[in-house]
Amino acid sequence: MTSNNLVYLIALPLFSSGFLMMLGRRADKWGHIFATLISASAFGIGAFEFLQMLARPSESRAVTQKLFSWISVGTFQVDASLLLDQLSISFVLLITGVGTLIHIYSIAYMSHDLDRRRFFAFLNFFIAAMLLLVLGDSYLNLYVGWEGVGLASYLLIGFWNQKPEYATAAKKAFIANRVGDVGLSLAIMIAFATFGTVSFAGVEEKVSGASTAALTGIGLMLLLAATGKSAQFPLQSWLGDAMAGPTPVSALIHAATMVTAGVYLITRSNFIFDNAPTAQLCVVIIGAITLMFGALIGTAKDDIKKALAASTMSQIGYMILATGLGPVGYAFAIMHLLTHGFFKAGMFLGAGSVMHGMDDEVNMRKYGGLGKLMPITAITFGLGYLAIIGVPPFAGFYSKDKIIETAFNSEGIKGLFIGGAALLGALVTAFYMTRVIILTFTGAKRWDEKAHPHESPFLMWGPMAILAIGSVASGFLLSSGNRFVSWLAPVVNSHEVEHAERFQPVVVTTMALVAVLIGVAIAIAKYRSDVPRVAPTNVNIFTKIARRDLLQDDFNEAVLMRPGQALTNFLVATDERAIDGAVRTVGAVVIGSSKGIRKTQNGFVRSYALLILFGAFALLATIWVVTL
């Protein structure tokens, strides 16, 4: 099947972005409306394609569109082609749907910003790049989108680059992402060397003939790419700082869509991971570590956005964990991704709404009792909260519970460990999310006299309400009758395999609910009484470590930055010695001796001529020898 509409999905926002950038200030008055309409129309196209796809039988649902032949060098052919299948359409709807809501929200949220038009241009650019990422039919096309969203993320995190620390945060994100990108480009290179093609279909076709070593290599490199983009251990540290960007950006890019690109990448490459058990195991381990890691950081954060960011990290950990669990896991990972897209975006928008009412104050210790003043925000946030901690029948319950269950049921001792981790993660999640709720919406007011908390305008709470509905209903809608699993089955090649189930689903569900209850209870017990406005300093070592983001920056500094600096110092030292040395030794250097190339560059033309003579001499000598 082919379709001619796919290109418009990308072209519309891309055009709009360029258009708004080019018009400059002239478009200030209507640029935001224009961008929002464009985003909405992209959603319209997506919905149209979705309906058409529903009408087709499940094996012929994928459609493609060839745009042009991109690279044709010798035997290497890459077309710029788009592929819309069950997996991509899920993302397309999420990106354009949530994207449009966030566009609407931003109209109000950014209304005081002089550069609102530029912001919308960037947002549209992000939408275009993200759509290219999920619609590309080859790794190379995906890579273009991958770089594009990285750029958009960099631009938007640093949108308020007047503040140096924001600009620094943007750079941090940029660099962490580059590390991941190296992984992706290496994966593409290995894939090309192994299969001679980089299109998904082509690789899938030839994957059975490839060696496990090559597949493992590709898998690990893809995983590295995913850890960079999705803020997974050990490249997770940028996400917290990325909260420097405007809150709608945090909601769209750093909660709902871009950070989940890693999950998409692994799911899309299921044919590789399913044949590379080692890489798959690494995926599980990374996921498990990150979900604990994020959750623990979340417990200690007083900045509401950073607490949510830590939670995002942790939830994506769940998704990555699920993708590592083989064919059964992919559907649950994507399902959790979708529900998470709803409730986390909703909560971020809620956090933005709170900040909007509190003069951009982000410290939860200075909130308190906002529930009465901002009822709609409190309700929508609360629904998202119930979803994330996994209370039935809210969305997160369905998706997260399935992941925990699948984790427990994976083979061997591994299952117990990762299942345990997932369960413990659920407990901690319940704890820190409850803490957020208590600190923000309940209790006594702890804010300054200057602050005048008020409910946000309709343009802001409208999207929040819609997302809240999503966080309530999406889980049930997706999971009832195993609907989503069978929807995605053609893409991820899952077939019904009866596992030897270690635990009955009901047992797992009960355990999970108990864990949640414990978490909530601890939080209530701890934060019921008055909360000091300033974070107490006489806390135990674990809290201290958690406050320092589990030493992630210290880790980076010790493992990455220090050696990097040492290397730089070394290079600088070499540099100095070489340059100054050359100057000092001019006239004393022994030319022609093999003391290094650089020293032949002494600035004397006779030395250069001598070098040429030596070259000629060497060539002649070669001739002399070969003709002997």
Partner: protein, 504 residues
């Protein structure tokens, strides 16, 4: 007596038009009023190049024609290379048109009162324009030359103006003059080798035409040692021009000392011409003797790539760094030459186009970064440039990305094509070294970007001057070409594939 020679002027038209424009330029120097000269010369030069390009388009389908009694071969590759040279020269002249980069009076002793008064009087050395045209004419002839005599004449015609222009910098004049003298002396030295080699090849084949030598090569009865010596020395002359190791020593000094627009022109256009000639010689004349030159050239390619990339790392001057980078790029281009297949030819031609435009753009940007005493080429002082003029810094980063071969730039496609061609020819070792040195090279390109964006602003007095309209057109067009060749290179690749067949 012999018959009257038939030159076939339509085939020679691009070359003749450029030469004619140059001569008119010289006359303008003599007769036009001094204050109007710059504008007149610039118009004349751009017009000449434009008309030459048009006349080249007219003959693009008349492939495989010998012109000028067989001295000049107009085949597909010639058309492509002449087109590339004309395009590059056109945009390079736009940057050269900003005469602020050139000395007010070359004959004045640097630092003398005479120089000061010449500067105050606003005098300009507008001879640069006819000199550029002469150089372009030589470059057009170089890859088209079909016998060693023409080849040598073309080599000299293209070199001599470059020697001169290298010495005409406005700032740091002694440095510039030193560079010019070095370039001249070493160039003459290399030319002597070339000529020596041509004599041996005549001794080998009793002919100086490429087809005659080719006949002797496939004949196989002639004296092999003469072939080898001749081939070696001729190669030496060409290797010198492209700055291959170990004949590269002039490159950093000259690139650094020459006025920046000239450096850009030199780096981009000379490479096209010299590689064009090299491709013709190796693919047409000596293809059957490849067991003689391929191993040697492979070693040289590897050495060139490695030396260029490794030494560039420790450079602190942006022009010097780009000079070493151009050495490394010469190495990458060699991998295409030694592939000795059609893919290699097409890839090399594409790479030359891609590299040429990125080079013009990059050096164009360098001309803009100045303080009161002229251009700033010290890398440390570029720190924080990204904050002061984000557009220019972004554009420069883009060119560096292209040099590094990052996807979505022309450099990526070029490197990819060239390494693929080398891979297909079975020369895996070269490909491995090529990829390795690309990685090394990426380091110092990225370092500049990091400097511009992430290093602290050191409160330097440097400014990015507002470019003249022509300069900004040239820079932005170069950026555009670099982008388009990276995103959608297929039409260009197809055109090159169609045309890239040498005729003997």
């Amino acid at each position: 007596m012999s018959d009257t020679p038939v030159l076939q002027y339509s085939f020679l038209a691009p070359i003749l038009i450029v030469l004619g424009g140059a001569v008119i330029g010289v006359l303008l120097e003599a007769f036009a009023a001094a204050k109007r000269r710059a504008v007149l010369q610039l118009t004349l030069t751009l017009g000449t190049l434009f008309i030459a390009f048009l006349s080249l388009l007219r003959i693009r389908n008349l492939t495989s024609a010998k012109a000028a009694m067989g001295s000049v071969m107009i085949d597909g590759p010639t058309i492509l290379m002449q087109g590339t040279i004309l395009l590059i020269a056109f945009f390079a002249v736009m940057i050269i048109g900003d005469v602020d980069n050139f000395t007010a009076q070359a004959s004045a002793v640097p630092g003398s009162d005479e120089e000061k008064s010449a500067l105050q009087a606003g005098r300009q050395q507008t001879e640069i324009f006819p000199l550029t045209l002469f150089a372009v004419a030589g470059m057009l002839l170089f890859p088209a030359a079909n016998d060693l005599v023409t080849l040598f004449v073309a080599l000299e015609v293209l070199s001599l103006p470059l020697y001169l222009m290298a010495g005409l910098s406005r700032h740091r004049r002694l440095f510039s003059q030193e560079a010019a003298l070095k370039y001249f002396l070493l160039g003459a030295y290399a030319s002597a080798f070339f000529l020596f080699g041509a004599a041996f090849l005549y001794g080998f084949s009793y002919s100086v035409t490429l087809s005659g030598i080719h006949a002797a090569v496939i004949g196989g009865t002639a004296n092999n040692i003469f072939l080898l010596i001749g081939l070696t020395f001729i190669s030496l002359g060409l290797l010198f021009k492209v700055g291959a190791v170990p004949f590269h020593a002039w490159t950093p000094d000259v690139y650094q000392g020459a006025p920046t627009p000239i450096t850009g022109f030199m780096a981009a256009a000379t490479k096209v011409a010299a590689f064009g000639a090299m491709l013709r010689i190796y693919y047409v004349t000596f293809a059957e003797a490849n067991w003689n030159w391929r191993p040697i050239l492979t070693v040289i390619a590897i050495a060139t790539m490695l030396v260029g990339s490794i030494v560039a790392i420790t450079q602190r001057d942006i022009k010097r760094m780009l000079a070493y980078s151009s050495i490394a790029h010469a190495g990458f281009l060699f991998t295409g030459v030694i592939a000795l297949n059609k893919a290699g030819l097409a890839a090399t031609l594409f790479y030359l186009l891609a590299y040429g435009f990125a080079t013009i753009g990059a050096f164009g940007v360098i001309t803009l970064v100045r303080d009161s005493s002229g251009e700033i080429t010290d890398l440390n002082r570029w720190a924080g440039l990204g904050r002061r003029s984000p557009k220019i810094a972004a554009l420069f980063s883009f060119f560096l990305f292209a040099f590094a071969g990052i996807p979505l730039t022309s450099g990526f496609i070029g490197k990819f094509a060239i390494f693929t061609a080398a891979y297909e020819s079975g020369n895996i070792g070269v490909v491995v070294v090529g990829v390795l040195s690309s990685a090394i090279a990426a380091f110092f390109y990225i370092r500049v970007i990091v400097m511009m964006y992430f290093a602290d602003d050191n409160g330097d007095s440097l400014t990015v001057v507002i470019p003249s309209p022509l300069t900004s057109i040239a820079i932005w067009v170069s950026g555009g070409v670099t982008l388009v060749l990276g995103v959608y290179p297929t039409p260009v690749l197809n055109a090159i594939n169609t045309l890239a067949t040498f005729i003997r």
